[in-house]
């Protein structure tokens, strides 16, 4: 067990260490209010990162998530304010559009054989461009109270979006760890040819993964719009890098075939803990960025070397 999950073990240790050190620097750090608030702040990145774990474990990558988030945010405004759709319907429509954007990524990757990195580099520009073109720099504001609660309110003592996040976490963990779809994802990531020759539904699975990635980005957009109560075409800029950082920090192999939701969750927590704790400890934003970079490299270094030693 430990041998198979060396990385998660190393990561858990690093996270604990970080929490310990940072809690000595600031008494607010471990307060319930702060922790819940951190849950609220990390939801969007976390939702996308959960699905990105599937994408990367299957040997792919999706750089367009931030752009899909921006496009979804803009379209929510357009559907609701521009077309006058009832808000619940507009939200549904946005989720559909996000899924279609993801599906489009999947189609050019699966059916036209484009490498995922390039295909989604292209749609990164395309979807952001559509967001900018459609919005013409206009923002939609004045969202109803009930909608704002999705991003700013609480339910049973927890921020609303944290419930969504917990549900997504449980679902993603169960699917990747315990179902045949999860196994299929790993098999595709480890050897797509062998998976195909074993009669696994390779194309359908890949299409589904990218579609769900688009869906998650759209869902994140809804939550983000609700949290900040406006729409902007630059929403989600750079999201892909935050997400990929969390996922690879969590031990998912960028070459596919390996990775767990537990690892991703730990990666997300570690990044959030560092951002928040260092800020509370009086370290400025740019110093925090440096430290996250160092931690990313150092964690992978330690876990690679540990594994290498275990094997030798």
């Amino acid at each position: 067990m430990l041998r198979r999950h060396t990385h998660e073990a190393v990561l858990a240790l690093v996270t604990l260490l970080a929490i310990l050190v940072l809690s000595l620097q600031s008494d607010q750090f471990l307060s319930v209010a702060n922790l819940l608030n951190q849950g609220r702040l990390m939801t969007e990145v976390a939702l996308v990162a959960l699905v990105m774990t599937f994408v990367i474990a299957s040997g792919g990558i999706d750089l367009s998530v931030g752009s899909i988030m921006g496009l979804s945010a803009i379209l929510l405004g357009t559907f609701w304010d521009g077309f006058g759709l009832p808000l619940p319907l507009a939200m549904l429509a946005v989720l559909v559009v996000g899924t279609v954007c993801g599906l489009f990524n999947g189609i050019i990757i699966v059916h036209f054989g484009m490498p995922p990195l390039i295909a989604t580099l292209g749609t990164l520009a395309l979807y952001r461009g559509l967001a900018e073109g459609i919005s013409q720099a206009r923002s939609v504001r004045g969202w109803p109270e009930w909608f704002a609660r999705l991003g700013q309110g609480d339910w049973l003592g927890l921020p609303v979006q944290v419930w969504i996040l917990l549900a997504a976490l449980a679902l993603a963990g169960a699917i990747l760890g315990f179902t045949r779809w999860g196994r299929t994802v790993y098999a595709i990531g480890a050897s797509e040819t062998a998976a195909r020759f074993s009669g696994l539904p390779v194309d359908a699975t890949k299409l589904a993964i990218y579609a769900v990635s688009g869906f998650a980005s759209a869902l994140a957009a809804l939550i983000f719009v609700a949290r900040v109560s406006t729409t902007r075409s630059d929403m989600g800029t750079g999201l892909e890098l935050d997400v990929i950082t969390a996922v690879v920090l969590g031990g998912t192999s960028i070459f596919g075939g390996r990775g767990t939701i537990l690892g991703t969750a730990l990666g997300l927590i570690l990044v959030q803990v560092l951002e928040n704790g260092l800020s509370l400890a009086g370290v400025k934003g740019d110093g925090t960025i440096v430290l996250i970079g160092v931690v990313l490299i150092a964690t992978l270094l330690v876990s690679t070397l540990t594994e290498r030693r275990a094997r030798a």
Partner: protein, 343 residues
């Protein structure tokens, strides 16, 4: 043609020099609840982004005021890129860490509002500068200059250089940047009213990136050639880049460069004669004033309904539109005075 302005109502000033006294209005800012008085006031200053000359200057002003005021500690911490989410997260962390006051320049007026309201509810004093948030999300806002005032100054200066029938193009940051969009909208309105013969060729985006600004300005020069009389930069990055483009194209004197800019960045072009002048308020003063206003609000010397506020070496500043502290008229930098400034 679409000029890059926003679609909110405009209020162009009169074409002549007559000025209307701005309206003090009734207080429309937010209120702090449960503020705890303490010996030292810890203040964090959160600009739109760090790493550009303009916000370095505001941050210097904040530091200057902090040194002057008793019991105030101020730090500047901002996102590395003008990103709304990073700015919000940053402010949120400072709320948790228990600062006494927050100064901000908003990347988005609406997006930043919830977190600022949260700060007010946590007993933290909030004052904005440069770019505002929704009024009820902060107490006061230090307004560097009114949008229509900036627009008038810019257009008047431009008209004087290229003539009332000249043609010009604009290099801005992005169409989504609120201040720039507002200025452009006001300029458009003012031009339609006072210089109907002028031709507004087009507006291009160049982020806050000086190389891109330079390339965009160069392309405009190449596209319009002698048909373009003036280039206006809407950011402190774009204006010197435009001046550089005109210099490199050997068109000094033929294409006039105008715009918002810090004196240090345009000094070489004013010295070389390629640029006559540029417009800006003093960002150092703005940061300086913002901290003074915050301190006054904390001390209770600035109460809702006040008509003016004391701001150290700047003297008395006027309050307009309910909760905005007016910094004063923008400064025009030219060959005579450019050496008097250093920011």
């Amino acid at each position: 043609a679409w000029t890059g302005g926003d679609d909110q109502p405009t209020s162009p000033l009169a074409c002549d020099a007559s000025t209307v006294a701005p309206d003090a209005g009734s207080y429309n800012g937010g209120t702090v609840t449960g503020a705890q008085p303490s010996d030292t006031l810890r203040v964090v200053d959160v600009p739109k982004l760090v790493g550009i000359g303009y916000f370095n200057a505001t941050s210097a002003g904040v530091a200057e005021a902090a040194a002057e005021l008793d019991g105030v500690e101020a730090t500047t911490d901002g996102p590395a890129q003008a990103n709304i989410d990073d700015q919000i997260t940053l402010i949120d962390n400072y709320i948790t860490s228990g600062v006494g006051g927050i100064l901000y320049a908003a990347n988005d007026p609406v997006a930043i509002a919830p977190v600022l309201r949260k700060a007010l509810e946590a007993g933290i004093h909030v004052v904005g500068y440069d770019s505002d948030a929704e009024p009820d999300a902060r107490q006061w806002f230090v307004n560097p200059a009114q949008f229509n005032g900036v627009a008038k100054t810019l257009m008047d200066e431009l008209a004087q250089q290229i003539g009332a029938d000249g043609s010009f193009a604009i290099v801005t940051s992005t169409f989504t940047t609120p201040n720039q969009a507002r200025w452009i909208a006001e300029m458009d309105a003012y031009q339609a009213k006072c210089y109907p013969e002028m031709e507004w060729l087009e507006t291009v985006e160049a982020q806050e990136d000086n190389i891109l600004s330079f390339n965009q300005a160069m392309t405009l020069i190449n596209k319009y050639g002698e048909d373009m009389d003036g280039l206006v930069g809407m950011t402190s990055v774009a204006t010197p880049a435009a001046a550089e483009a005109v210099t490199q194209a050997d068109l000094c004197g033929e294409v006039s460069v105008m715009g918002l800019a810090t004196p240090n960045a345009i000094r070489p072009y004013i010295k070389s004669g390629c640029m006559e002048d540029a417009v800006l308020w003093n960002p150092v003063d703005m940061g300086y004033a913002a901290l003074h206003v915050l301190k006054a609000a904390v001390d209770g010397t600035l109460e809702p309904g006040a008509a003016e506020v004391e701001a150290g070496r700047l003297g008395t500043l006027q309050i307009i539109n309910g909760s905005e502290v007016l910094l004063g008229a923008p400064t025009v930098f030219n060959a005579e005075n450019v050496d008097d400034f250093d920011f």
